[in-house]
Amino acid sequence: MVGSYPKPPDEGEPFVLRKALHSLDRGEATRDDVEKAVEALTEQMITEQENAGIDIITDGHAGWPDLLRPFAETWAGFEVGGLLRWFDNNTYYRRPVCTGPVECRGPATVEAFRFASSVASHPVKAVIPGPVTFARLSVDEHYRDHEKFVMAIAPVLAQEVFELAAAGARYIQIDEPALLGAPEDVALAQRALGVVVAEAEPAEVTLATYFGDALRVGPEIFDLPADVVGLDLVSGPASIDLIEHAPRGAKIQAGIIDARNTKLEPVDDLVAMIDSIETAIDDADLRLSPSAGLEFLPREKARAKLHRLGEVAERVRT
């Protein structure tokens, strides 16, 4: 899994979380009621991933309005600003606005990780935004210097990673989709990610990119401090060429199933795609995933995609 899973239920089922949030808005429910709805949804999301045969799952981000908000709302130095489009999707997020020094005021996601792990039988991968992506998607009214801003976010993310690893996270994914549109930030990402990843021991770290091809970043992407590099081979089919330049021993999380369109990929097409990747890297170094978080699809379609992924993985293994 890359990260998010659809929150809406199957057709005809009650949408408990949405109702709880509406009730909270109207003062008719408490934070606890919402929390219960988030936990119930997390359990469903985990069951569906496990039933599809996914080996490394996530909590599905049931409680997150977007990738940045849990952090922007927890850290000192940020306010939550206006709506902006989430990359090229018809999904919107609220831009964090940095108005003072960024400081950690406690972990943002550790409790949710602990809950997810307690109800899962498979390992849960913890997901956080990367420092470059966080900075690029925020408004900086305090540092007024991109590099300083990124390097101020990095240690706070490092603290989060430290707490996640301490809470038992064996897999931690750092999302840097914005890096694909900002290849000039690669050297900065190297330094900032170094700060974050240093605290991840003993977890395996995946650097995830999506919504585009990584060719503009170039083979340097494999030099970034991560154990696994995630590539979106649907939005960026050209990234397959990059895999051919991957250094020996590089591990790849290959996003082969379209997380943003309902059309279900034929098994044979996926197998052919995997074959073309496997000419460049060993099977053992390959992880198969959707191209991005699955929240862009209706629940039934996302589930069908995950089952297809499980099916294809099973076939290539045998």
């Binding site: 929150k7 206006g82 018809n90 919107y92 309902t262 699809l297 209706p298």
Partner: protein, 332 residues
């Protein structure tokens, strides 16, 4: 170029499109979904709500009215429900706790009957003031739908453009003097802005009325000034949500069309005071003359309550009146 034939010195007030549905419509829509009432009962209530919104807009002297889209669930799904080749899909998230049904293109897309003309005629019959014809643009319908049929996005967009053109022509024949073709997705991918322009050209080329497009929540700084090539008379943009940041771009390349100036943030329960809205209009007047300015909320108001929307529109009108009187004094 479609003329603007409205009274006064400009800074005309309008709305972007949707207005909130009163609770009785929300209840009736749920009842209809459960099969407890029939289509004609729901339609009667939608007509009542449309009438109430026309009356409200008239009561605050709005210059260019909208029908409020009481009969539309979602700006893309409404068209998808009626167009061959599109099916309504499941729920996906838009933002926060808001979700929409994302259509799926499953076959060749077209239009086999008018989709909005009857509602426009009904709304226009209730007032002497002009009511905008409201359409969703081809690029946005494509971008906000899944595609299981077309080999590429361009083919889908151009089929949609021909269908929306036919609808626009029907609105023009019915007497609409202002037709808005919303393209909120236009600022999504800079490498497809040419496709937005090409598709809009197909829609507006045969029209002689005043044409408008609404674009929001995207990458304006990269889309501007290229967006001026979109073949419409007016572009409606959100300014309040981005704290008027786009005005800086107008400094470098003058905005040479009519503008729809979005002056209230539609995603907040906090309603800007009249003085703040008036300040925004004054700042914008440095770049756009009053006779090329329409003033409205940042976006459709359907996510607000009826009371919030009425207050926002009233504040806008009061702010416009204040600035109009200042401009009138200055012109003397």
């Amino acid at each position: 170029m479609g003329e603007v034939d409205l009274p006064g010195i400009g800074m005309w007030t309008t709305s972007v499109g949707s207005l909130p549905k009163p609770p009785y419509i929300l209840a009736a829509r749920s009842q209809r979904a459960r099969g407890e009432i029939d289509g004609s009962e729901l339609r009667d209530l939608e007509r009542r709500a449309t009438k109430e919104w026309i009356e409200f807009q008239s009561s605050i002297d709005t210059d260019l009215l909208v029908d409020g889209e009481q009969y539309r669930g979602d700006m893309v799904a409404f068209f998808a429900e009626e167009m061959p080749g599109l099916e309504i899909g499941g729920l996906v998230r838009s933002y926060g706790n808001r979700y929409y049904r994302k259509p799926i293109a499953t076959g060749p897309v077209g239009r086999d009957h008018p989709l909005t003309v009857e509602w426009w005629q009904f709304a226009q019959s209730l007032t002497d003031r002009p009511v905008k014809g409201m359409l969703t643009g081809p690029y946005t319908i494509c971008d906000w739908s899944f595609n299981e049929f077309y080999d590429n996005r361009r083919d889908l967009v151009l089929d949609l453009a021909r269908a929306i053109r036919d609808e626009a022509l029907d609105l023009e024949r019915a007497g609409a003097k202002y037709i808005q073709i919303d393209e909120p997705a236009a600022s999504t991918r800079m490498d497809e802005l040419d496709l937005v322009i090409e598709a809009m050209g197909i829609v507006t080329e045969p029209l002689s009325v005043h044409t408008i497009t609404h674009i929001c929540y995207g990458d304006f700084h990269n889309a501007y000034p290229k967006m001026l090539d979109i073949p419409v008379d007016q572009i409606d943009l959100e300014f309040a949500n981005s704290e008027y940041a786009l005005l800086e771009a107008f400094e470098r390349t003058p905005f040479d069309k009519y503008i729809g100036l979005g002056v209230v943030d539609v995603h907040s329960h906090v309603i800007e005071p009249v003085s703040e809205i008036a300040d925004g209009i004054r700042r914008s007047l440095r770049y756009i003359p009053p006779e090329r300015m329409f003033v409205d909320p940042d976006c459709g108001l359907k996510t607000r309550t009826v009371d919030e929307a009425k207050q926002m529109l009233t504040h806008i009108k009061q702010a416009v009146d204040q600035v109009r009187s200042e401009v009138a004094v200055a012109l003397r």
